[in-house]
């Protein structure tokens, strides 16, 4: 069975990347299981995804502990222990990192004995996922170029012809670029029950109720989490139109992200505004308009 793990951040297309690879395997006649794994969905948070592919129906589930191939879309995740990028990596695992630094640098940094490849960082980071998938498809060696192409078309069908062909070009270029390493990632064996280390189970002690209630014992931690990063649309106040009513916008904002200044003007705290646009809907003077977060006009 092929066991492949993707690591990236929310917004880098890891789910789509894993699905393209899953579909490519499937088109090639493999049994497949693919899934993303994330916490509360938001951009920037570390997420991982996995793909299993085998000739037989797949009974394994969930986290891949012994990967054949680990794909890293964001090299800043490597030093983060919580991201668990190197979990279960052995000398037979191939590591594929999307990075502008040389493989040799990473090999030294990570003290990795096994195979380590890099895919030079894409000018447009949102292509990272598709490019890495193209490279992965070549690394396993059993996916035809045409199956990869069909998988990309299938998974990105909803995005319009322009986006699709741009992504397809990335995927195929990466596929072609990995020709020298074709087939280097091989299927891992199922580990035998006899050779298995035993789990070190412990009896959970009874703790004081105080310690055993899930709580965060520090003030104003919500201020430190910049939830504004989750925003896809940004409300912008047109102060020429704002009548400084009785600050309907501020009252309605569910995140208390609109403060009223000393001059009685509403001010949006973009560090924490999640872009729900309730203020846009509520403002009686229609003074607030939404603009895409990606647009040039920064607040």
């Amino acid at each position: 069975m092929y066991r492949i793990r993707f690591h990236g951040r929310g917004g880098q297309g890891m789910k789509t990347a894993s699905r393209i690879l899953g579909s490519a395997f499937f088109l090639q006649g493999y049994e497949v299981q693919d899934a993303p794994r994330y916490g509360a969905e938001r951009r920037g948070a570390p997420i991982f995804a996995y793909v299993r592919a085998a000739r037989q129906p797949i009974q394994e589930r969930g986290i891949i502990l012994a990967p054949d191939l680990v794909i890293v879309a964001d090299d800043s995740l490597l030093p983060m222990p919580a991201a668990g990028v190197l979990q279960g990596v052995t000398p037979r695992t191939t590591l594929l990192i999307h990075s502008s630094e040389a493989p040799e640098t990473w090999r030294q940094r990570l003290n990795i004995a096994g195979s380590l490849l890099t895919l030079s960082a894409q000018a447009e980071p949102h292509f990272a996922g598709t490019a890495l998938t193209g490279a992965a498809a070549r690394l396993v060696g059993v996916i035809m170029r045409s199956a990869l192409e069909q998988a990309v078309r299938q998974e990105l069908a909803g995005l319009g012809e322009e986006t699709l062909s741009a992504n397809l070009a990335q995927a195929l270029a990466a596929y072609d670029g990995m020709a020298a390493h074709a087939g280097q990632v091989s299927e891992g064996e199922a580990s035998a029950a006899v050779a298995c280390p035993r789990p070190d189970w412990v009896d959970l002690p009874l703790d004081e109720a105080d310690a055993a209630a899930a709580a965060i014992h520090a003030g104003a931690t919500s201020v430190e989490v910049r939830t504004g990063l989750w925003r896809t649309l940004r409300p912008v106040i047109d102060y020429a139109r704002c009548k400084r009513c009785w600050w309907v916008c501020s009252e309605f904002c569910p995140d208390s992200a609109i403060k009223v200044s000393a001059e009685n003007y509403p001010e949006i705290d973009y560090e924490h505004c999640k872009g729900c646009l309730i203020c846009v809907a509520q403002c009686p003077s229609h003074a607030i308009t939404p603009i895409p977060e990606s647009s040039e006009v920064k607040p």
Binding site: V32, A35, G39, R61, G62, S191, P197, P199
Partner: protein, 413 residues
């Protein structure tokens, strides 16, 4: 028929679509939302002739589902975790109307603390409600069980709502190859809903959910629900046989895997049971006589089939992905109740609690559970219940607590 890679959520949506659901009251919740989004997309595109209404809560959603079912339309709905709990009053109220519909629950652990990942405490809270319960292990089973659930729920000998359960993440967000039958094939197995007398129409007023004082009257109505649920066992067998004939996939009320000649078997529900199958294969390779017994149907409880499957076994590894505080695993207690005092039943039922809040159950843990149970069989002593929790996990917990402790002191200072 097409074979496609789809998620458990998409499989549930396909189940509703192929069943020809006519009304879907909805309220979104992670990890169920994709089901509602998928249905909404199809309805929007004119691919599904159905009315989807978003309600303001799961309580209203389930009220609407029950009421709509009483008018004789085919109703589908879906929820998860806190949503299921929020609608709980109506979960318990609906079966008494004897109007069938299908509810999918995407299992997710319940608070406190909050999680998004799965265990079975949410669905087991509905255990005594009168809903029939089907538990799935694969995405294929989600689609198929949804179709089976309609047949079962709508059968005139049963007429109770049915719940189809799938695990969040491990099925809901996981794509697997699924055979999606054509609507025409499904219609042979599941014709349009024949509501018979379940026809709550404007011109024929009926009051439902009425007061029945005097315990004896009340007992009658409640016990009738119990009898109907029990009758569903027999109906299930018929429906599953027809399903197999039509689609070639067999869904016994109790799935057995390599258990016939097994000395020790795993007993569990849900998607982790495929991991148990893998463990069974590995243990068999190592020469151990191990198998799996998995109830698909949890309500009605297939006690007789379980006794047949477990007769003559030395020990049972009962894995509960749930926890009844102050008691232990719910499946363990129920199984003990079904086996107690019957001849030839396994002497050792070892209780393990694992997979709470989506925690993985590793292969070596499956092996070790067998080892512990084997030892118990040899010594004739049932081991105390065991939480699957490693020293390393406790160390990580202690680290977080140390941070919290320091923060607290800082706060106080």
């Amino acid at each position: 028929m097409t074979r496609a890679l789809i998620t458990g959520n998409a499989a549930a949506a396909w189940g509703a679509r192929l069943a020809g659901a006519e009304y879907v009251p909805a309220f979104p919740i992670t990890p169920q939302t994709e089901i509602i989004e998928t249905l909404a997309g199809w309805i929007d595109a004119g691919e599904m002739d159905c009315r989807l209404v978003t309600l303001e809560s799961e309580h209203s959603m389930l009220t609407a589902a029950g009421a709509a079912a009483s008018t004789g339309v085919r109703v589908f709905s879906a929820t998860s975790s806190q949503g299921l709990l929020y609608g709980m009053e109506m979960i318990y109220a609906a079966p008494g109307n004897r109007a069938p519909f299908v509810l999918v629950n995407v299992s997710r652990g319940i608070q406190t603390p909050v999680t998004l990942e799965p265990d079975h405490n949410d669905v087991l809270a509905t255990r005594d409600s009168g809903f029939l319960q089907l538990h799935c292990a694969t995405c294929q089973e989600v689609l198929d069980s949804t179709l089976i659930a309609y047949r079962l729920a709508e059968d005139h000998r049963v007429r109770l709502p049915a719940l189809v359960n799938l695990d969040g993440f491990y099925l809901s967000f996981t794509r697997e190859p699924v055979d999606i039958p054509a609507r025409t094939e499904v219609e042979k197995f599941l014709p349009p809903f024949n509501p018979e007398t379940t026809r709550f129409h404007a011109g024929e007023p009926v009051s439902q959910g009425v007061v029945v004082l005097g315990g004896a009257y009340y007992s009658y109505f409640r016990y009738e629900q119990h009898l109907a649920a029990q009758r569903a066992l027999e109906v299930y067998a018929e429906v599953a046989a027809e399903f197999e004939q039509e689609f070639g996939r067999r869904y016994d009320a109790v799935e057995t895997y390599r258990s016939e000649d097994a000395e020790i078997v795993f007993f569990m529900i849900g998607s982790f049971s495929t991991k148990a199958k893998d463990a069974v294969d590995r243990l068999r390779e190592a020469g151990q006589a191990v198998g799996l017994v998995r109830p698909r149907l949890l309500r009605p409880y297939p006690a007789e089939a379980l006794r047949r499957a477990l007769a003559g076994k030395q020990g049972v590894v009962v894995i509960d992905q749930n926890l009844s505080m102050g008691m232990g695993g719910v499946l363990h207690g129920e199984l003990a109740g079904a086996l107690y005092g019957q001849p030839g039943m396994p002497p050792v039922l070892a209780s393990f609690i694992g997979g709470l809040g989506g925690r993985d159950i590793a292969a070596e843990e499956f092996y070790e559970m067998v080892e512990v149970t084997r030892k118990a069989c040899q010594e004739g002593v049932t081991p105390p219940p065991r939480l699957l929790y490693t020293a390393d996990e406790l160390r990580q917990m202690r680290k977080l607590q140390a941070v919290a402790h320091a923060e607290r002191r800082e706060d106080a200072a």
